[in-house]
Symmetry: C2
DNA sequence: AATGATTAGTTAACCGGTTTAGCTATTGAA
DNA sequence: TTCAATAGCTAAACCGGTTAACTAATCATT
């Protein structure tokens, strides 16, 4: 800017006014504006956003903290967040927590120091204190996919309970009595709700049987899922269907169903919480729940930007997921 | 910093020296260091990285430009890049190009203005001029997955030709004569090489037949892949196997093979370039090529950081992919 | 006593923008 | 002719760090 000013015999301030589009209000002549813009072009001037940020206190970038971007769900979510942020002219810094509290903390600290304008994050078990740090700074924040119940902050999630109840009921109405559930035993409200939606519905129809509930330890999942499938196959009272509470459990579960020679859907039907891109390579009918990932990502950004622009009401959305069927 | 300095009757400079760890060289007393650090803690001082960046000219963040982070391959790649960058203390800003030249250009411009320390990017067709902008700024850069042949810059890619030739040969040696290929007609060297690896190998064995080569237009892929499958099914000289040149083509292709009642592997075997997380839900044997995504991501970061730290030799790695088999 | 070396810390410029008070010259009205 | 209003621009502070150059005091050495 100084170079442009020197070349035109103007001051740095004037050049800044023109280039930042604030020339009209402060009345810089049409002529000068044209010359400044032309010279900037000629000299291939590119603004230094860092300097601008320091001055304005706005970095024009937002932080996104997810569990693991290589996971189909979070990859999709992040994609939609990025595309929406792009529309608002915001840049996105993404970090993975790998479900670790320490990494979550590091991510938050780092983003705060980077003077980020807002944060969209997927809560990590035990991360309330860390999240409070964001609130204390009065930094706009939106939780996605999960939320801390005691935190006064915006969130946008899916009604896990409701859709799980619905899909269970759907299967019951189709004539299934013996529906099993396979779910991680992790203490995430999303997972608890999916499991509970199933349990309450089965109960309501008087079909609940604890031998149909298979809780899987995350660390030892391959083995435990395999065992769960074998158990269900050998259940004295024939099992009609299995509800897998998440993507990965479904993939591993179906694999072992194949290995055990369980025919889908003749022997058992399968339900999957989450859509998988490649359902169609499995030549079987699959009932699945499709979360509105795109809407969730877009809306999270919308809410965040509103807050960045001054809104200070907390928005908490609970979206409905859809029940679908492959093949 | 000024506040800390005031409270202790020191100068801002001294506080900066202590807090940035340069106190030893500039000899600030042990006592003063301790007091500064303690007071910083008490006042909950957090450095403003933006200010630091402006001053040092280093933003401690790198840009990553991929095609589409929601794609399993790029999601994985980005994940490994982020994890490795974290180790070096670098933050990652990710952007998607959606294979669009314009978006690629916007991303580069934006990252340059953000005073990023280096860029890792997946080339976009026609993006040579845009990439030159990075080079002209003498900004460290690493291309991944693809590369611009005429650009003097580091890259790290997989030997698409070689592994495609190998997998074709493997199938031939297993007794297959009529191997087809289904590939996008996009002008990406990665895809061209996969196709060519197949063609040259078939040729070498005297098995090449152009009715076995199916080029798919990206925009109309669903329909064209379907038609390709039907064509191959009806090929007068029975087709033994199909080599799908990428993930998505494979998924769509296998779907239509199922629909057409083609039995895998009895009627035809299938080959997929790229590993898919959920291969196991398809109860069929699949020959696939697994790219060393983790290594590619990690190495890309290593090379970039080396360059950021002053190395100015161009590194060009061609990694080997592995041939594997599901079930 | 003079000199040099060392220790401990200060000063002030600088990074590259933004922003606002205020200055000057011109125009228009009284 | 005089004064106010306005247009057009400048000067300088500011954002929050970093760092080269400098000062001042102490200690060791000759």
């Amino acid at each position: 800017m100084q170079d442009i000013a020197d070349k035109l015999g103007l001051s740095k301030g004037t050049v800044s006014l023109v280039l930042s589009g604030k020339a009209r209000g402060s009345r810089v002549s049409e002529e000068t504006c044209r010359k400044v813009r032309q010279t900037a072009e000629e000299m291939n001037y590119q603004p230094n956003e860092i300097a601008r940020s320091l001055s304005t206190g706005k970095s024009m970038s937002i932080g996104v903290i997810v569990t693991d971007i290589s996971n189909e769900f979070f990859g999709n979510l992040t994609f939609h967040i990025q595309e929406q942020a792009k529309k608002y002219g915001y840049t996105v810094i993404t970090t993975n927590t790998n479900e670790s509290l320490e990494e979550f903390n590091d991510a938050v600290t780092n983003l705060l120091n980077k003077q980020i304008d807002g944060i969209i994050f997927v809560p990590v078990v035990g991360g309330e204190k860390v999240a409070e740090k964001i609130i204390k700074r009065h930094l706009p924040v939106v939780q996605v996919d999960r939320y801390f119940p005691d935190m006064k902050a915006s969130y946008i999630i899916v009604d896990n309970y409701k859709v799980s109840a619905e899909i269970t009921e759907l299967l019951i109405k189709k004539g299934n009595r013996r529906i099993a559930v396979v779910c991680y035993d992790i203490d995430l409200n999303a997972l608890r709700e999916r499991r509970q939606g199933y349990i309450d519905t089965m109960n309501r129809y008087g079909l609940l049987d604890t031998t149909l509930i298979k809780d899987i330890n995350y660390e030892d999942q391959e083995e435990q899922i395999k065992q769960a499938i074998i158990d269900l196959k050998n259940n004295p009272d024939k099992v009609d269907a299995i509800f897998f509470c998440s993507r990965r459990v479904f993939i591993t579960g179906v694999k072992h169903m194949h290995r055990e020679g369980i025919k889908i859907p003749e022997d058992m039907e399968v339900l999957c919480f989450d859509k998988i891109d490649s359902f169609s390579i499995a030549n079987i009918p699959i009932h699945y729940i499709e979360q509105p990932i795109g809407e969730m990502g877009k809306k999270a950004v919308d809410i965040l930007i509103e807050q960045i622009n001054g809104a200070n009401d907390i928005k908490q959305y609970v979206l409905d997921a859809e029940i679908k069927h492959s093949i």
